[in-house]
């Protein structure tokens, strides 16, 4: 810590940072544009000017750009200085010379960094009387709207898109006051991370095209903290609703996980919530019958909730045997409730045999250690990486984005030698000359990370595993070797081994996408061998779904086993929770399974093929309409909250199960009546899940005696929303399960991190208000990041190696069975979002995506 003087008052700041970041962290409202905590400083906009004085006698001082100035012990600056203030106002005036002043029709209106800075700098009137220059806009695909006239040329878009995310089809064109940000020609943005432009752009140039279809101002959105359900990484999001439709997803900062960013599937995949395929009422085959077959074939009819529940209670009591099939895309709470309903022995994870085995293996490895399970932030710090088998951009996108940052570490190293600080972005890039830490990728096909890989290697899944075993053996001869490696592969293994060995924070990444146990074991062996050699190795596994890890930890039997018990005629009733079995097993087998069941009860939110074949269907809430916990790939349990109360009978899966239990007169029903109830019951029953109870405040938590409002103070139209029905305002729905309120009443104070449902601070209406929620700008949220890791490896465990499975050799494996994942199109729920569907159809077929 060093002392700097701001307007003659001493302040303690961390050394090594730039003055802008320091001032913002101290709480000063200093305007800026081109700087961003994840992109660092370039000094282009000149908005962050302050005065610097040589010493306490210097009265004149000189204007400096705070973002380009390192903090130094004893330095004296002024933020309030009249000349600096006038200059900052002048900069804003320049930026507004050509700005269209079209805030009323701008999607950014009300959450616009430019608006905030305009007010902050005191630019309140237009002095110019001249014509503005105008630009043509481009069609950039289904996600991003382009309105170039609003551009203030801060260069953040291209710096994010190109320098941070590795995209190469967005750029800046022309010069002087004609500079233009766009593509060489119209067309969908190629980067899988294009959506972040929406938040990176400080004005309304790049806005969310999906939001535009059903636009609402920021202050008219009811929002809640959420977790992305579209892959296994658990990125934190903020979901926003109005009039019963989900309007958009924004990033929710998590220092350890997604930082400032999301992938496009996570941002634009939300519209399954609004889909016409939603199940909105209880449905049943008519007439409800105790002997009805499982086949719906489309003649499901709406039924009263009470009669559906009554019927299910009857079915359960007269059944020969009931099994429950859970789901890795449903919350821990819903799965646990189902498990309680049917009993642990009759609970199935809903994952296919192979999937389930892979996850159990991963969890086993996780528990035994010794390698760390890295957060995405840890990934960003790695300095030598090997990826076995995964096309991460498509299977774990933010992990891929994090790797792009990791390899850049080498540039920081080079810059440091020249005393160029990390925040000096252009300086670092120039000193670094694109140098990268080594990244090795072994995969069946080209991947979208090949451009940053030091070397890539293609082979069949088992060959990849053998390569992995060989690397581990190179690192520690006591690890088993894969035999029969050709010379080239052996050499490659040696190269990777020596590179990992020489690293401070080596990282091994693998995952489940190739359905190959050996690869997972090989990755573990590498990490174990590194640990045995005294390295601080991290081992990261990509898992397929938002709660794969949770279900893996919860346990239960797999889907194939469910088919067997049904074949054995031991059961006649199956309750399927948020799961489309047709996506997990051979269609014929699923069909036979459903056919044999006397009673098929499906609880889900979308009319899947499985649901359409049920006897009874209960409408579940999506992530946006229910609360629960998801466990990400690193075993971090994180809570999501309902954003709004859907009309009718839609409710969380676990609530349906509670209702069923109650209807069946089961006494334990009370234990799972509330969210806190389910988590408590779950914690008791499953010790590994015990921390889940502590990941977020309980329902009776209050900030200064009040709940945390989901609606901002300015939320408008509340009293008129239902005016066509009744002029008297309804009482807002109660949320007994959480400490959030479905209203604007409550505490406007910053809530604990897990309850942040929007960023706002006086004078800061844009997403940049986030600065005020961090302990230091760019750092942890106040009160630390939400969520808790369930498994920490045993760091001092004796290294145990997997042996190479001799029964398998590459000749016997059919490489063509390895599935190919696409970020757009492979995942179930996002497939119901029109924008994702459109993007999937415009996928560039020449390029590996």
């Amino acid at each position: 810590m060093i002392t700097i003087y701001i307007d003659n008052k001493p302040h303690q700041v961390k050394s090594g940072q730039n003055l802008l970041q320091a001032c913002l962290s101290l709480g000063f409202d200093l305007p800026y544009f081109c700087w961003h905590p994840a992109l660092h400083a370039i000094g282009a906009c000149r908005q962050c000017a302050v005065k610097q004085f040589k010493d306490d006698k210097d009265m004149r001082g000189r204007i400096i750009m705070s973002c380009m100035t390192p903090v130094a012990e004893g330095m004296r600056i002024s933020v309030d200085d009249a000349e600096a203030t006038a200059f900052r106002k002048g900069v804003l005036e320049w930026l507004m010379l050509n700005h269209p002043h079209d805030c009323p029709v701008c999607d950014e209106g009300g959450e616009c960094h430019l608006q905030d800075m305009t007010v902050m700098t005191g630019h309140t009137g237009r002095r110019t009387r001249f014509k503005k220059r105008t630009h043509r806009n481009q069609h950039l695909g289904p996600f991003i709207n382009h309105e170039m006239n609003r551009c203030i040329q801060c260069y953040r878009c291209v710096r994010y898109y190109r320098d941070y995310a590795g995209g190469r089809d967005l750029n800046v064109f022309s010069a002087h006051d004609h500079v233009y940000f766009g593509r060489h020609e119209d067309g969908a943005l190629e980067s899988e991370f294009s959506g972040n432009l929406v938040e990176i752009c400080p004005t309304g140039v790049f806005t969310d095209k999906t939001l535009k279809q059903h636009y609402a101002r920021k202050w008219d959105l009811q929002t809640a903290p959420s977790i992305c359900v579209h892959c296994g990484l658990g990125c934190n999001t903020i979901a926003g609703e109005r009039y019963g439709t989900l309007r958009r997803i924004l990033n929710r900062y998590h220092h350890e996980v997604n930082g400032y960013f999301l992938c496009d599937r996570g941002r634009f995949g939300y519209e399954f919530v609004n889909s016409g395929k939603r199940i909105r009422t209880p449905l049943a085959l008519s007439p409800l019958s105790l002997s009805g077959s499982g086949q719906g074939e489309g003649d499901l009819q709406p039924v009263e909730k009470a009669s559906a529940l009554g019927h299910i209670a009857e079915v359960l009591s007269s059944s020969k045997g009931v099994i429950g099939i859970g789901s890795p895309r449903a919350s821990l709470e819903s799965n646990y409730a189902l498990r309680s309903l049917v009993g642990p022995d009759n609970f199935y994870s809903g994952m296919s045999g192979p999937d389930h085995r892979l996850l159990s293996l991963i969890i086993d490895i996780r528990q035994k250690g010794p390698a760390r399970s890295p957060s995405l932030r840890d990934v960003r710090m790695a300095d030598a990486i090997v990826v076995l088998g995964e096309d991460l951009t498509n299977t774990a996108p933010l992990l891929a984005l994090s790797l792009r940052q990791a390899v850049r570490g080498k540039e920081f190293e080079a810059a440091e030698k020249l005393k160029i600080p990390q925040w000096h972005d252009a300086g670092v890039r120039n000193a670094g000359q694109g140098a990268r830490y080594p990244l090795y990728i072994a995969s069946p096909e080209r991947t979208r990370l090949d451009d940053i890989a030091l070397k890539t290697w293609h082979g069949l899944p088992d060959d990849i595993a053998r390569l992995g075993f060989a690397i581990a053996h190179e690192l520690d001869p006591s690890a088993p070797d894969a035999d029969g490696l050709d010379e080239e592969t052996a050499l490659f293994a040696r190269e990777i081994a020596s590179s990992l060995k020489g690293a401070r924070q080596p990282l091994v990444i693998s995952g489940t996408s190739l359905f190959n146990e050996s690869i997972i074991q090989a990755a573990a062996n590498i990490a174990t061998a590194l640990c045995a050699g005294g390295r601080d190795a991290a081992l990261c596994y990509a898992v397929p779904e938002c709660n794969s890890m949770g279900l893996g930890i919860m346990g239960g039997r797999n889907l194939d086993e469910a088919f067997t018990v049904m074949d054995d005629d031991l059961v006649d009733t199956v309750i399927i929770l948020e799961n489309d079995l047709y996506r997990r097993a051979d269609g014929g087998k699923v069909q036979a399974f459903l056919d044999r069941a006397q009673h098929v009860i499906v609880i889900d939110h979308i009319m899947t093929q499985t649901a359409s074949r049920a006897g009874i269907v209960l409408p579940a809430g999506t992530f946006a309409e229910s609360s629960g916990t998801l466990v990400n790939n690193e075993s971090r349990a994180q809570r999501f909250y309902p954003v709004f109360v859907p009309p009718g009978d839609i409710q969380a899966g676990w609530k349906w199960i509670h209702a069923i239990m109650s209807a069946a007169g089961r006494t334990e029903a009370d234990r799972i009546k509330s969210l806190d109830g389910v988590t408590t019951a779950m914690s008791t029953a499953l010790p590994l899940l015990a921390p889940v109870g502590d990941i977020a405040p309980p329902a009776d938590f209050r900030v200064k005696g009040s709940k945390v409002p989901r609606q901002p103070h300015r939320y408008s139209g509340r009293t008129s929303m239902r005016a066509d029905v009744s002029v008297s305002e309804e009482k807002p729905p109660e949320d007994a399960d959480t400490s959030l309120a479905f209203s604007m009443e409550g505490s406007e104070e910053q809530p604990p991190a897990s309850l942040i449902s929007r960023y706002w601070s006086p004078r800061w209406n844009s997403v940049q208000a986030l600065n005020k929620y961090q302990q230091e700008v760019g750092g942890e949220l106040r009160g630390n990041g939400p969520g808790k890791r369930l498994i920490e490896p045993e760091p001092h465990g004796k290294p145990v190696y997997f042996t190479v499975d001799p029964s398998r050799s590459s000749q016997e494996i059919d490489g063509s069975t390895a599935p190919i994942y696409h970020l757009f199109g492979s995942e179930e729920l996002s497939g119901y979002s029109p924008a994702i569907e459109e993007r999937a159809s415009t996928r560039n077929r020449d390029k590996p995506e």
Binding site: W94, T128, H176, D177, V179, A414, N430, A431
Partner: protein
């Protein structure tokens, strides 16, 4: 009077061939240089007090001495000759390049040896195609004679020279923007520090010098620093290529002792004002320098004296403003140039200059308002040094701020009379 830089230059004639150049004493300096250590040459150049001729007047020897030692930064080093000369009013480098290309190559070889680089670039503006042809010929000849290439004259020193023909933009003359252009990038400047001396072209130590600066080096090696110092008439060393343009009788560029006064330049060499025209003022060193007035005619044209008079020597090429040219129109033209040539990186320059242009245009066309003048003055302050990303914008407003100071009444008249008093129609 000695004119080392232009001794072989004859107007309207072909430059000396390599053989003629050698016969006239050319390339003598190489053997001399190779007998010295690079440090010796840097010391000689430092002792000579040679100041960079690119505009800023940074002492060349000091610059060379600041190159970080081998081993402390990535290698190799690069040497770049800045031949972008795009400043309105400047045409002195063209004279040297077209007039005596062999001399430039010789200067580069000695300079490159002194700073120990094996690769040199000449960053040449595309319009100077005649210079390009002549330089190429000189380079080819030098390779043939092993003045260039590997192991030059058995010295163990290697050097390659490549000409990059610029695709054109004034900002390319700024050394870090120039480096970006050489790398095939958009020529926006880079933040300093890191300075190119430590981290320039491809992140390597890079020395950028002006054509005229380089042309002096081998003369200093041949004749010694004391000789060089004695060439100047004032406190500064050497000769300088000065120029005069505008409504003078015989515009041109001449090599004269450093410190020749502005008056001598205009009267003795430029032949004085054309008949019927009177001198109202001048920009002493290109369009990016503050105006001076006839009362400044006695000012010696060296870096410090011109600075004291309130302007900059810049390129040393004077442009006169006569009494029949509207100063508003004149400065409008200057600002139009700068607005158009701005790289578009930083806000003040990208947005401020076009606004200035629009205001000046309005005033010039009788649509000015009283408030415009205070806006213009404010813009000049806002675009001052330190406020913008590079020195382009501060240079761009220098003529404007001085015009507002010296010719304010002309602006007032435009606004009052709602027309340009110089326009007849």
């Amino acid at each position: 009077m000695e004119r080392p830089l232009t001794q072989h230059i004859r107007p309207h004639a072909e430059p000396l061939s390599l053989a003629e150049y050698e016969k006239a004493g050319g390339y003598r300096s190489l053997r001399k240089a190779f007998a010295l250590t690079p440090q010796d040459i840097v010391a000689m150049v430092t002792a000579s007090n040679l100041r960079g001729r690119g505009g800023a007047g940074f002492p060349t020897g000091m610059k060379w001495g600041l190159v970080p030692a081998v081993g402390s930064v990535p290698q190799p080093r690069y040497f770049i000759v800045n031949a972008d000369e795009m400043e309105p009013g400047a045409f002195k480098d063209r004279l040297l390049l077209e007039g005596d290309p062999n001399q430039i190559i010789e200067g580069i070889i000695v300079s490159a040896y002194a700073v120990q680089t094996e690769k040199a670039f000449i960053f040449l503006r595309r319009e100077y195609s005649l210079a390009g042809k002549r330089l190429n010929k000189a380079i080819a000849g030098a390779y043939e004679k092993n003045y260039l290439g590997p192991n030059i004259l058995g010295s163990g020193f290697n050097l390659d020279i490549r000409i990059h023909s610029s695709a054109g933009r004034y900002i390319c003359g700024e050394e870090t923007a120039l480096i970006n252009a050489l790398e095939g990038k958009r020529a926006v400047p880079r933040a300093k520090p890191p300075f190119p001396l430590a981290c320039g072209l491809w992140g390597r130590p890079t020395i950028v010098n002006n054509v005229e600066t380089v042309a002096n080096i081998h003369h200093i090696v041949n004749n010694g620093p004391e000789w060089f110092k004695a060439l100047g008439v004032g406190r500064e060393s050497g000769t300088k290529i000065y120029g005069v343009s505008g409504r003078v009788k015989s515009p041109g560029a001449w090599e004269l002792p450093m410190g020749t006064t502005i008056g001598e330049l205009i009267e003795d060499h430029g032949g004085g004002m054309q008949n019927g025209y009177a001198l109202r003022g001048m920009v002493p060193g290109g369009a990016s320098t503050d105006f001076l007035l006839p009362k400044h005619l006695a000012t010696p044209m060296d870096f410090d004296s011109v600075a004291k008079a309130g302007s900059r020597m810049g390129t040393g090429t004077v442009t006169v403003l006569d009494d029949r040219t509207c100063p508003v129109g004149f400065v409008h033209n200057i600002e139009l140039f700068f607005a158009r040539e701005s790289c578009g990186w930083c806000t003040p320059c990208r947005e401020g200059l076009p606004w200035i242009v629009k205001i000046l245009h309005a005033i010039e066309n009788g649509r000015g308002e009283q408030e415009d003048l205070s806006i213009l003055e404010q813009q000049c302050r806002f675009l001052g040094p330190g406020n913008t990303f590079c020195a382009f914008a501060p240079g761009a407003v220098e003529p404007l701020q001085s015009v507002l100071k010296y010719f304010r009444e002309d602006f007032e008249r435009h606004i009052r009379e709602k027309k340009c008093p110089w326009r007849t129609s």
